[in-house]
């Protein structure tokens, strides 16, 4: 296994672990303010310091990790659950009007500026984590649809598919039983990459106040709160930013490493 999988998996597991731990334990309660202790630099009592309300930044990072991961995972889930079936359907009916409609629909979604539409969606339905998930998820659909169609098309030409057709299996059964297992690796790799993009998108939306709402902690909101404090308490901006960077970096390294590891051509070339 490559170094990039090892580093990526470690970083990802650290944040997943912090998010999981936050369900049962955080060093401090972030719901209560402790104004006399505001803007403390990192020390023995508060390992990552405190924010402008005197809240423990480590506890907020742990709870923020939970929000980021939940939003990104669900947004990727929307992309996979709707995009992959659409892509498989388009591949099964390749060349038909349905295929054309699905693919042109995808192109259309790609033509929309994603951030602007995400802002629009959250503005229409009100800012919340759920609406952020929907806004980010919509743009994951064409990614998975296009990728799964592209990956499924060459598989449809293979002999074992012909054998399955001769055996009387319908397109639906072939798609589920033969095509899907063959493209799963690719979807896992893309899922990891979309996951990291989801973390960035969630941070951006909550930074402009359209993501998870207080009292739910989120890294983007922590950055927005820190914006006017950067000169007097730089740690309030540096720490949440570093958390986003490390989490995204970890997922990207994991995705890249998995792609190389799961791709037999690259693996054979290496051996």
């Amino acid at each position: 296994m490559s170094r990039s999988i090892a580093i990526g998996a470690t970083l990802t597991l650290v944040f997943l672990g912090l998010a999981a731990l936050s369900f049962i334990y955080t060093p401090y309660d972030i719901q209560s303010f402790d104004i006399p202790n505001k803007l403390h630099r990192p020390d023995a009592a508060n390992w990552l310091g405190t924010d402008h309300f005197g809240r423990d930044i480590l506890s907020m990072i742990m709870l923020g990790a939970r929000t980021s991961i939940a939003v990104a995972v669900l947004a990727v889930g929307i992309g996979i659950c709707i995009g992959v079936p659409l892509g498989l359907l388009a591949a099964a009916r390749r060349g038909s009007l349905l295929d054309e409609l699905i693919m042109r629909g995808n192109d259309l979604v790609f033509a929309f500026p994603s951030l602007v539409i995400a802002i629009l969606i959250t503005a229409i339905f009100g800012p919340s984590a759920i609406n952020a998930i929907i806004a980010i998820g919509i743009f994951n659909i064409p990614v998975f649809a296009r990728l799964s169609r592209g990956a499924a098309l060459p598989i449809w030409e293979r002999d074992f598919i012909l054998a399955a057709r001769v055996a009387g299996k319908s397109s639906l059964r072939i798609s589920i039983e033969h095509i899907l297992p063959n493209i799963t690796n690719l979807m896992i790799v893309q899922g990891t990459i979309q996951f990291s993009l989801g973390i960035l998108a969630e941070a951006a939306l909550s930074y402009i106040g359209l993501g998870a709402q207080p009292p739910t902690a989120s890294w983007g909101r922590m950055l927005a709160d820190a914006q006017t404090l950067t000169s007097i308490a730089p740690h309030t901006a540096l720490i949440p930013g570093m958390a986003i960077v490390l989490m995204v970096l970890g997922l990207n390294l994991l995705g890249d490493g998995l792609r190389d590891w799961l791709d037999p051509r690259i693996r054979i070339a290496r051996t």
């Binding site: 042109r104 033509a111 930074y207 986003i244």
Partner: protein, 314 residues
């Protein structure tokens, strides 16, 4: 070639029609009556009705869509409900901030990415490649709004080389460019990282091709083969990414414009959404989608010019 252009033009037109219908439909489902929003809670019903009439809100939907689209085709984007000025004027004012910012960021990203990608590919597996690829991994992972905050902290607050925000206007071009510098760097960094990675992998693909071996066999040095043949061919996929990045930068500056208080299109959309100024929102979103679709079209054509195989396939 003509058949290829015709088929791409048809697809361009259909995409624009579909996009306009989607945008119009999305804006229509926004809850809240803009007329009621403008007049406040104490508005009299007859005043409200009169304003709705004036804004065209009482017309049937298809008529309103038709008026909007035909208006846009003639350059009439309607009148902003909050600013009370033509939307076209608002866009014209703002585009002279957003467009130069996008171009500035694109130039910076290309200047950084090309040498980085070429060095990484030509020294594959070496220290230069590993460090450049490490840097691009980091570049892709950094949120541009956080990077913008760090730039402000260092260059505006600590070193005082740049202002932390605002735009002085183009009457003083040097000051205007200076005020766009930090935002452009913030926007360019993640794009440069992506572009450098594409450049590297495209170049590596080309360096493994037979024509490079032939060029080397004819006596060209590695460097000559790289510059005379591989780089030129590697530019094809890079061109697509640059096209996509331009439209992304034009629309993607929305948060960066907020951070640096730049009066651009992004800030206009943001303010119009909060003020329920839907006519501005739908026109600006349509304009951005138009740019994306037209840029994609131009990239497709550029592709066909540099790669004759695509022309014959159409």
């Amino acid at each position: 070639m003509i058949r290829y252009i015709a088929s791409r033009l048809l697809s361009l037109t259909l995409s624009l029609i579909a996009a306009s219908i989607v945008i119009f439909a999305v804006i229509e489902v926004i809850p809240g009556d803009p007329a009621a929003f403008m007049l406040g809670v104490n508005a009299r019903p007859d005043t409200l009705l009169a304003l709705r009439d004036q804004m065209g809100l009482n017309d049937p939907l298809p008529l309103r869509y038709f008026t909007w689209v035909t208006g846009m085709l003639t350059g009439d984007f309607g009148i902003s409900w909050t600013y009370k000025t033509p939307v076209a004027e608002l866009i014209n004012d703002r585009i002279w901030v957003s467009l130069p910012l996008a171009i500035y960021a694109l130039v910076l990203s290309t200047i950084i990415a090309f040498p980085a990608g070429i060095i990484a590919a030509s020294r594959r597996g070496g220290m230069g490649d590993v460090s450049i690829m490490g840097a691009t991994q980091l570049g892709v992972a950094i949120p541009n709004f956080w990077f913008a905050m760090i730039l402000v902290l260092i260059f505006a607050i600590k070193l005082r080389w740049f202002s932390a925000g605002g735009f002085p206007g183009w009457e003083t071009p040097l000051l205007a460019i200076k005020s766009l510098t930090l935002p452009a760097i913030a926007l360019a960094l993640p794009q440069a990282a992506i572009l450098a990675r594409v450049m590297r992998s495209s170049l590596l693909d080309n360096l493994g091709e037979d024509y490079i071996r032939t060029a080397r066999a004819k006596g060209l040095t590695r460097r000559q083969a790289l510059w005379r043949h591989a780089v030129r061919n590697a530019l094809i996929p890079v061109l697509t990414i640059i096209g996509l990045q331009f439209s992304f930068l034009l629309a993607g500056g929305i948060i960066i414009e907020q951070i640096f208080f730049l009066p651009g299109l992004g800030r206009l959309i943001f303010q119009s959404i909060s003020a329920r100024d839907l006519i501005v929102v739908e026109s600006v979103v349509m304009l951005l989608v138009f740019v994306v679709i037209v840029v994609n079209f131009a990239v497709d054509l550029a592709y066909a010019v540099v790669d004759p195989r695509l022309r014959s396939r159409a």
